[in-house]
């Protein structure tokens, strides 16, 4: 890359730019890129963002440094908490989640952004690979204003024509009304980001579409690593690089230990 940054940093900055001031940003366990992205966005342009980690809601815009955690119920991370979204009532105000943004991983993802955290195999009673389970992703993705699918690798094992099991409905069977037909009020997945590229979903069909490739990655590389045909526009730009200011804030105020380098 022409600017010296890691793919994780590239994705962090890409996601951070896509987050808007005033949003609630909820990140679950084991997603270091979204964890860094929400902190970076908060410091860069989000004085009214609220960060939610495992039920602790905070605004840390006023802080000089906002540590990238070892996640968890760790008072070193959540000591700035202003309220607990789960004071016995974690799911009792989902009607307001249109303002909330969420991030999920997956062990399988299909062309409509449906994902699977349950397991791989044809027979549920004898799975070839038992996944971690759905966590809270079905409820979160049903209601949040939008979410991002964030993957640590990009391969045909992950990007499959059809998930063996669906733990979160993205765009269901496809079509712009895919979610309203199912009665799912949330806005669905916006981007799927991987170490190779950024993908979105076409307006009409809601099928996965290549949006940009990271520096040094070709469109053919991406398609080869995807187990179904992607929609590919005539022009596929390169994923925008972080600015030096973004990288500076990320490295000096969020990830000074260098976990994303």
């Amino acid at each position: 890359m022409s600017i010296d940054c890691s793919v994780s940093e590239l994705l962090t900055c890409f996601l951070a730019r896509d987050l808007n001031d005033g949003e609630e940003l909820q990140v679950g366990v084991a997603l270091p890129i979204p964890e860094a992205a929400v902190r970076l966005a908060h410091l860069m342009h989000g004085p009214n963002m609220e960060l939610i980690f495992l039920g602790a809601r905070m605004n840390v815009h006023h802080l000089e440094r906002v540590p990238l955690p070892a996640f968890g119920w760790d008072n070193r991370v959540v000591r700035w908490t202003e309220s607990f979204s789960d004071r016995g009532h974690r799911f009792d105000q989902v009607k307001d989640w249109h303002r909330r943004v969420f991030f999920i991983g997956g062990i399988q993802v299909d062309p409509f952004g449906n994902t699977n955290l349950i397991g791989v195999g044809e027979d549920y009673s004898r799975l070839k690979f038992r996944g971690p389970g759905s966590v809270g992703t079905p409820t979160l993705t049903t209601h949040v204003g939008r979410y991002y699918i964030v993957l640590n690798s990009h391969s045909p094992r992950i990007f499959v024509p059809k998930c063996d099991f669906i733990s979160t409905v993205g765009w269901g069977q496809g079509g712009a009304d895919a979610r309203t037909r199912l009665g799912l009020p949330g806005g669905g997945p916006k981007y799927c980001v991987t170490p190779l590229c950024i993908m979105d979903f076409s307006e009409d069909e809601k099928r996965m579409r290549l949006r940009s490739v990271h520096p040094g990655v070709s469109v053919a590389d991406v398609q080869r690593q995807t187990g179904f045909p992607l929609l590919i526009p005539d022009e596929v730009p390169t994923t925008p690089l972080p600015t030096s200011r973004e990288l500076d804030v990320l490295r000096s105020r969020v990830d000074w230990v260098g976990a994303l380098r």
């Binding site: 004085p47 605004n59 815009h61 799911f91 105000q93 009607k95």
Partner: protein, 290 residues
């Protein structure tokens, strides 16, 4: 670093009341946010659907603001079995009642907060409630076949509350527990406006975050003695004498009591401070809790 600053959510009672309009569904917590309630009367709002109880409900009915009461209790406390203006208006058919009770109301509010069209509830099975309120459907549960009521989601346009403290960003903390319905009302409503006795720093909020009962009120009003003539926990007791004056006024046969009471206490004072001046500091200080 960012050029922006975090937005404050403080506002005054006049601007807050200006966001309310005729015909809205307005939920009112306990203790009642009386500064806001008086401004509803002052603005002469009409055709409201209110979720309220006791003499707060009665005052709004007396002032002619209410078309429909989502009401589980309209008693007056201390020897006043039924709130007088409410009783008269309902008997005359001027105000309709969405007949319910606490568990049913809670379920409807929970359904709204959870984005669900309904929640089931058992309390009320066998009573007249589903006959009198046909929004309540008798259902057979899909798991064990038991008879339950399906309570539809109840969504206030705005919820008005009174609490102890908040920071300028809308983090509200109650002292000694909110009224039982308050948090349900806040979660169900489109918007929540909270009066508080005192504004505290954001650092004070964060020092005891578990005490935060509402994390992001849409507007916060600094209204010391703002629940008067009701109590405010940790601050003052109920002014029972004034409530009794109200009941006497409302019960007067010649109808002359209410206009005088409403004029003096609700319509004439332009601000909450004007109201407090009318009540007098000595009377306010006498309502201590010790």
């Amino acid at each position: 670093m960012s050029s922006g600053v975090r937005t404050e959510r403080l506002c005054d009672e006049i601007d807050a009341a200006a966001t309310l309009a005729d015909g809205m569904t307005i939920a009112i917590g306990e203790p009642a946010p009386m500064a806001m309630v008086r401004h509803i009367i002052r603005r002469n709002l009409r055709n409201l659907t209110v979720i309220a109880s006791g003499l707060t409900l009665d005052l709004l009915v007396a002032a002619g603001c209410v078309k429909k009461a989502i009401s589980y209790y309209a008693g007056g406390g201390f020897g006043v079995p039924v709130a007088p203006a409410f009783r008269r208006a309902v008997e005359r058919g001027e105000v309709t009642v969405w007949e319910c009770e606490e568990g049913i109301l809670t379920s409807g509010l929970e359904a709204a907060g959870k984005g669900l069209p309904f929640l089931p509830w058992r309390g009320g099975v066998g009573t007249s409630l589903p006959e009198l309120n046909t929004d309540l459907k008798i259902i057979e549960d899909p798991i064990r076949g038991e008879t339950l009521l399906a309570v539809p989601a109840i969504k206030p346009d705005v919820t008005l509350l009174h609490a102890a403290t908040a920071d300028v960003y809308g983090n509200v903390q109650h002292h000694g527990g909110p009224g039982w319905l308050d948090l349900f009302l806040a979660r169900a409503a489109e918007r929540t406006i909270v009066q508080v006795e005192k504004i505290i720093s954001n650092e004070q909020v964060r020092a005891n975050a578990w005490a935060t009962t509402i994390g992001r009120a849409d507007a916060v009003l600094r209204m010391p003695w703002g629940a008067h003539p009701y109590y405010s926990r940790g601050y003052y007791l109920q002014d029972s004498a004034l409530l009794k004056d109200y009941v006497s006024a409302a019960e007067r046969d010649d109808g002359a009591g209410l206009p005088a009471f409403l004029g003096h206490y609700c319509r004439e004072p332009a601000t909450h401070a004007d109201y407090l001046e009318r009540i007098g500091i000595k009377r306010l200080l006498s309502l201590h809790e010790y």
